[in-house]
């Protein structure tokens, strides 16, 4: 039973960290109001090129793209880039362009295979085509309000700032996978981004929204330097910091719209993100399990059965999580049904299981090829060799399970 108390202590440690995350998110959001006030006073709004790499139909793609066409900002262009004219997103991009004839919108269809990262490949033509000295990389599943550019651009007034990225709010949720995704974005991801930035001065760059100057970007090697990196956003952030420039996480929340995700998509994304964090963070990745109090407190259920102490620990952890996530959700204005928060503990149990996957598999599959994720998430083609049987076995198990 001694081990139970160890797990209990870790659970309470996780709860304390979670409480700290809530406090940090709250103060970060309050600070956002201040910076927003200054931002509107700023007179310097340089023209911006918004680069939108498109691939497939994201949930609510039409609304997401449209939200960038209604920006209250003096001068900007939008460059939609696709690898293939048969991509279903092409038709949506065309409709958006027709809907806003007075906006500077371009659609670039060009196949590019310069690297192994598909998003970066998609960005090469868009970047080349873009006209302005300041550019914004924005994912297609992001929706913003009309003040977005006005709120984030003034941070670049300071020449010491090399990159501005944003906090994310999971929005939507009409299926189990998307509810899990949004709960996770609004608690674990949001909380950790704020916590690491505030207390460890480690800004986590999430590629949903990245604003940069071209001269700074090219000084770190441009797109060519990240073409074979899976976590290109993190890599860009690191390189900017190595140049002694600051990475600013704007407290303007961008909506990451996840409406109809299946459970499989949720699992796939977090397996991939887990592998990236393991490769980036190394030993620090181990701490992630400790800050998942629901999963840690569930372990005694299997080890010691349903005793009063074991059950109490688990219920407390679940209760804290549900209430905390509900509070955070309300705080950031997440459009989630209140009953969705009851699913938080189940999501955490699943995330706890996913946490182990990076230790047994360090590859990703793209266009039928398997790539190994190396140090710093650098990708390399996985050759058929002595270990190939292992991947085939894993694929077979996964396919059978699905």
């Amino acid at each position: 039973m001694d081990f139970f108390w160890v797990l209990g202590a870790i659970t309470f440690f996780g709860i304390m960290i979670y409480g700290l995350q809530i406090i940090v998110v709250r103060s970060t959001l309050l600070a956002s109001r201040d910076s927003g006030g200054h931002a509107t006073l700023s007179q310097l709004f340089p023209p911006i090129s918004i680069l939108k790499p498109l691939k497939g139909l994201e949930d609510n793609l039409f609304d997401n793209l449209e939200s960038f066409c209604s920006q209250d900002y003096p001068e900007y262009e939008i460059v939609f880039s696709l690898q293939d004219g048969n991509d279903p997103a092409y038709k949506v991009a065309k409709k958006i362009k027709e809907r806003f004839p007075d906006k500077n919108i371009s659609i670039i269809v060009e196949r590019c295979n310069r690297g192994l990262n598909p998003k970066v490949n998609n960005l090469f033509p868009a970047y080349r085509y873009s006209n302005y000295a300041t550019f914004l990389i924005s994912d297609s599943n992001v929706k913003v309000d009309k003040h977005y550019l006005r709120r984030i651009v003034p941070a670049l007034d300071n020449p010491e700032v090399g990159l501005v990225c944003n906090l994310i709010r999971g929005a939507g949720g009409r299926s189990l996978g998307s509810i899990f995704e949004n709960l996770h974005l609004n608690s674990f991801i949001l909380g950790n981004i704020c916590l690491l930035d505030r207390y460890f001065h480690l800004p986590c760059v999430v590629g949903k929204s990245m604003l940069m100057r071209k001269k700074d970007f090219e000084a770190i090697g441009g797109l060519g330097s990240v073409k074979d990196v899976l976590a290109e956003d993190h890599f860009i952030g690191e390189k900017i910091r190595e140049r002694k420039q600051r990475v600013v996480i704007s407290n303007y929340l961008v909506n990451n719209v996840n409406e109809y995700w299946g459970l499989q998509k949720f699992i796939n994304r977090h397996v991939r993100w887990g592998k990236m964090r393991w490769k980036i963070g190394g030993i620090r990745y181990l701490a992630e399990l400790a800050i998942n109090p629901v999963f840690i407190s569930s372990l005694p259920l299997f080890l010691y059965g349903l005793t009063r102490e074991v059950l109490s620990l688990f219920i407390v952890a679940c209760g804290v999580r549900v209430i905390g996530d509900f509070y955070l959700g309300r705080r950031i204005g997440a459009p989630l049904h209140p009953l969705s928060y009851l699913l938080s503990p189940i999501k955490d149990l699943l995330i706890g299981l996913i946490w182990f996957v990076p230790f047994i598999n360090d590859t990703v599959i793209w266009r039928g090829n398997r790539y190994r994720i190396g140090k710093g998430t650098r990708l390399s083609l996985c050759q058929e060799g002595s270990e190939a049987w292992r991947y085939r076995l894993l694929d077979a198990i996964k396919a059978r399970w699905v």
Binding site: L57, D59, L61, P88, V92, K95, E98, R99, R174, Y260
Partner: protein, 230 residues
């Protein structure tokens, strides 16, 4: 080419997505033309009566509301997405055997047509209303939980003159018998759930108005099918 889906169900019958959400789902995905075709089930056998009891069918008393709502949403879809929405129904003549079951779409319908009328009477009334008549999933399908609807195919010599087009592909199934017979064709998703968005669709090379679309399907010139995948 216009990206079209002429076979869509909502919660007005046995679909799982409400009408407004369905419109948004297709509009957000860039569709040009869709037809909302909820079931009108025959009530002349126990199978049909059960479907009506479970509200899996439009009835004469609910048809007015349905049409008004579809028209309202059609207006919204046109303004918001530039997407044409055509009201329709799927006449659903269910029986206990596949040889006696038939489903067909009436697209562009104006007035209610009961499913328990005779085939000829329904077809003539639909023609009167200038609705398109499309035979749905006319051959064996891969659906395990679904009784095939083979009546129209088995009696094609008698009824094909009334039918404007046959579904050559429905959701994930392709019916090569339609091409072998050289019948006019379209494809539809038989949309009931969100995941059915990704299925066979029609591409029409015509103007985006209801008359041109009817003409295009009837002449079957400039019609193609595509498997819509993400």
């Amino acid at each position: 080419m216009l990206l079209c889906d002429f076979h869509i169900h909502t919660t007005y019958s046995d679909g799982s997505v409400k009408l407004g959400r369905t419109i948004d789902l297709f509009g957000q995905a860039g569709f040009d033309v869709i037809a909302i075709t909820d079931h009108v089930v025959n009530g002349d056998n126990s199978y049909g009566k059960l479907a009506r009891k479970l509200k899996f069918s439009l009835r004469e008393d609910t048809f007015g509301n349905y049409m008004a709502h579809v028209r309202e949403e059609a207006e919204r879809a046109w303004g918001r997405y530039g997407m044409l929405v055509i009201p329709g129904v799927e006449i659903t003549k269910n029986a206990l055997t596949s040889g006696k079951s038939a489903h067909f779409l009436l697209i562009g319908i104006e007035e209610f047509i009961p499913a328990n009328w005779s085939y000829e009477k329904i077809f003539l009334e639909a023609k009167q209303q200038d609705a398109l008549i499309i035979a749905c999933h006319p051959h064996h399908t891969s659906e395990m939980t679904f009784i095939d609807t083979l009546f129209l195919w088995n009696n094609r010599d008698r009824y094909s003159r009334y039918i404007d087009a046959w579904e050559i592909a429905n959701r994930d199934d392709v019916f090569n018998v339609i091409s072998l017979k050289k019948y006019p064709y379209i494809a539809g998703s038989d949309f009931h759930r969100v995941r059915h968005l990704y299925s066979w669709k029609s591409l029409l090379n015509c103007k985006k108005d209801i008359e041109s679309i009817k003409q295009c399907i009837r002449s079957n010139w400039g019609v193609a099918i595509t498997l819509f995948r993400n």
